[in-house]
């Protein structure tokens, strides 16, 4: 246990926690104390010394209060060409005055009605940051999709973050999708200035049967942000859940993604891109639990690492003994653009059933110089050639993003980062 747990870091947060969900918070607190912040050598956080990072970077161990957001700020943050529902948050607090709505989706503050079964999907005893969030979140949003409701336009969760010198932001979101419903969410984090802060987010998604849910997450905050994000979802029979995790910046970012395949004929897709430079450290831990026969999971994460950036990928596939006829595919490919960039990648398969199809592979390489020369030999300058190749490398994941405005936004970011136009 880190020394930090005994100190003002948690105390400040615990003291400031609201009175809502008091027994849930108490459980969270107990669970947090039982686990402590991850120790330096803790297996799950082996390559990501998050506790040390928090200890050395945070100044105010208190929750960041919501800040005022203007209509212009909302307008300029929404992707060009975006058409859909916009739900606006400031430091985790939902702002109805800036948000839009659509038939078939209802939203309410978590504090409005304490019946939301928080913690029933993202379990506090599985991760100390989930426990910490459960004990200290200030408020959050409950989103429900009506049964049979197919929302064609995407739902954008616009999360503005701003703190004074390293406060803590603890967003908490609960999504419930009725049977046969369909929706696409985009979770977009934006920093309002460049002061440091710590985001400790928990998203729980409870899907009904025969649902089709997509959750895109775009992390594009400034480079002093420390973030731990937990997304946990229960996937019922005949359902499909897809996650794409795009990370472009940050100081230290840890994403825990957990998919529980609970019904037969269910599909879980996990896609991700991390395009890193500077000293950004990004750790994607994914975990898919095949608990029943005849389910499928697909995973593809691609990393491009420049400068002294560091990436970690850990993909756990757990196939229980009963989960025969499982199909599980996993791939993680990385390109290192500098000698100082580091990637630690680890597939972790635990298979207890004997009639399954599972594959995994990870690659780490450099940019293909032959391909670069080929493009140059056709008159394309070196930077553009490099950009084209890296874009093509990431393209396989980008193609999975069906929301044009989001994909175009990401492509523009990538082009800008790579300094090339094509």
């Amino acid at each position: 246990m880190s020394t930090l747990t005994q100190q003002e870091f948690v105390l400040g947060l615990f003291e400031a926690a609201p009175a809502t969900y008091s027994s849930l918070r108490q459980l969270g607190k107990e669970s947090f104390y039982a686990q402590g912040l991850p120790a330096l050598k803790a297996e799950e956080y082996k390559f990501t010394p998050i506790s040390k990072k928090l200890e050395t970077s945070l100044i105010h161990f208190s929750p960041a209060k919501p800040v005022k957001i203007s209509a212009e700020q909302v307008k300029s943050a929404v992707f060009a060409g975006f058409e859909g529902v916009v739900l606006v948050f400031s430091n985790g607090q939902y702002l109805p005055e800036h948000s839009t709505s659509v038939d078939g989706i209802s939203v309410r503050l978590l504090s409005e009605n304490e019946s939301t079964p928080l913690g029933s999907i993202a379990k506090a005893d599985k991760d100390s940051f989930v426990a910490l969030n459960q004990a200290t979140f200030s408020d959050g949003l409950h989103i429900s999709l009506e049964k049979n409701k197919e929302v064609d336009s995407p739902i954008l969760l616009l999360q503005f973050h701003q703190a004074q010198g390293g406060q803590v932001i603890s967003p908490r979101i609960w999504i419930e999708a009725g049977d046969f419903s369909k929706a696409t969410f985009i979770d977009y984090h934006i920093s309002l200035d460049d002061a440091p802060y710590f985001v400790n987010k928990v998203v729980e998604i409870k899907g009904g049967i025969n649902t089709e849910l997509t959750y895109h997450s775009l992390q594009q905050e400034h480079n002093q942000v420390i973030e731990v994000s937990n997304l946990v979802t229960d996937i019922q029979k005949d359902s499909q859940f897809t996650s794409t995790q795009i990370t472009l910046s940050g100081d230290m970012v840890r994403n825990n993604l957990t998919l529980n395949l609970l019904g037969s004929n269910s599909v879980g897709n996990m896609y991700g891109i991390y395009l890193l430079n500077g000293k950004t450290h990004v750790d994607n831990h994914t975990n898919v639990d095949h608990t029943i026969p005849h389910a499928e999971s697909n995973e593809l994460y691609k990393g491009i690492l420049a400068d002294q950036s560091r990436g970690v990928f850990n993909g756990k596939i757990f196939v229980r003994q009963i989960a025969q006829k499982t199909n599980a595919f996993q791939q993680n490919n990385n390109i290192l653009l500098s000698e100082d960039a580091i990637i630690n990648t680890k597939p972790q398969l635990e298979i207890w059933a004997d009639d399954v199809k599972c594959s995994h592979g990870c690659t780490v390489g450099q940019l293909d110089e032959e391909a670069q020369f080929y493009l140059q030999a056709r008159g394309i300058d070196k930077t553009t050639a490099k950009g084209l190749l890296l874009y093509a490398f990431a393209g396989e994941v980008l193609d999975k993003i069906e929301v044009d405005s989001l994909r175009n936004h990401i492509v523009a970011q990538i082009q800008e980062r790579l300094g090339s136009k094509f």
């Binding site: 293909d368 110089e369 032959e370 391909a371 020369f373 080929y374 493009l375 140059q376 030999a377 056709r378 008159g379 394309i380 300058d381 070196k382 553009t384 050639a385 084209l388 190749l389 874009y391 093509a392 490398f393 393209g395 396989e396 094509f422």
Partner: protein, 254 residues
């Protein structure tokens, strides 16, 4: 147009080219032949600017410019085109997208306006007919899963699009069946003009029935050891390279 003088090049310290001299004028077709390992492909690569090769001596003047001083992309923009012996597969980049980027960068260098999508597509259609290449192929990832013949046709298609002054075909014929060879050669022949020149690097005489050279040079141990007309190619086809090797090696020992 192209003047190569005493060109020496090596790779990782091993000399490959040991003093090449070659003059190519506009309107000419030169064939470079020679046994395996004689330096044919190295010559093509050095002219295109492949970085692995180190030029240790000599100079190459292309249309009055020091070619070896230019980056590979600037050589292409000046009008040098290398049809690769082994075209690279690039997953995720479509031929169309790649060529539009390339063509517009070349046009910018030459002080021309970029082509808009409509003009680009009509130019593509026109050039596609030249090498009998299917549009479907071009919307796919560059060379990915293409057959050998399709890759080589794509090279000539790119050549047609970029309208080079000097085309270097590096063993474009190897691995092609007779139909593909005919299509590729027809493409090259249609693109020839009074103002352009072609260097055909090949191991076999067969291609030269279709692309008729004005000059044939034999490369051996990094030097041009014999030059002649197309009859020399026929002689090589008939007698092989051994007599040339013997001639050169015996002279060397004297």
């Amino acid at each position: 147009m192209l003047s190569i003088k005493n060109l020496h090049a090596s790779i990782e310290g091993t000399p490959i080219l040991r003093g090449i001299n070659l003059e190519v004028k506009a309107g000419e077709v030169h064939a470079i032949m020679g046994p395996n390992g004689s330096g044919k492909s190295t010559l093509a690569s050095v002219l295109a600017g492949r970085e692995e090769y180190e030029v240790t001596e000599g100079e190459v003047i292309f249309q009055g410019k020091e070619l070896l001083e230019l980056s590979p992309e600037d050589r292409a923009r000046e009008g040098v085109f290398l049809a690769f012996q082994y075209p690279i597969e690039i997953p995720g980049v479509s031929t169309t997208n790649f060529l539009r980027t390339a063509l517009n960068q070349v046009r910018e260098y030459r002080g021309l306006e970029p082509l808009d999508a409509v003009k680009f597509l009509s130019l593509m259609k026109e050039k596609m007919a030249l090498v009998e290449i299917d549009q479907k192929l071009l919307s796919r990832s560059l060379n990915e899963g293409f057959s050998g013949g399709e890759k080589k046709r794509n090279e000539i298609f790119q050549m047609a699009m970029l309208e080079p002054v000097l085309s270097i075909l590096d063993e474009t014929d190897s691995g092609l069946d007779i139909d593909a060879l005919r299509i590729v050669s027809n493409g090259v022949n249609k693109l020839k003009s009074e103002k352009t020149a072609t260097i055909v690097v090949t191991h076999y005489q067969r291609l030269l029935d279709y692309i008729v050279p004005d000059f044939v040079h034999v490369l051996y141990k990094g030097r041009i050891v014999k030059s002649g007309t197309k009859e020399l190619a026929l002689e090589l086809e008939e007698k092989g390279y051994d007599w040339i090797k013997e001639e050169v090696d015996s002279t060397a020992t004297v």
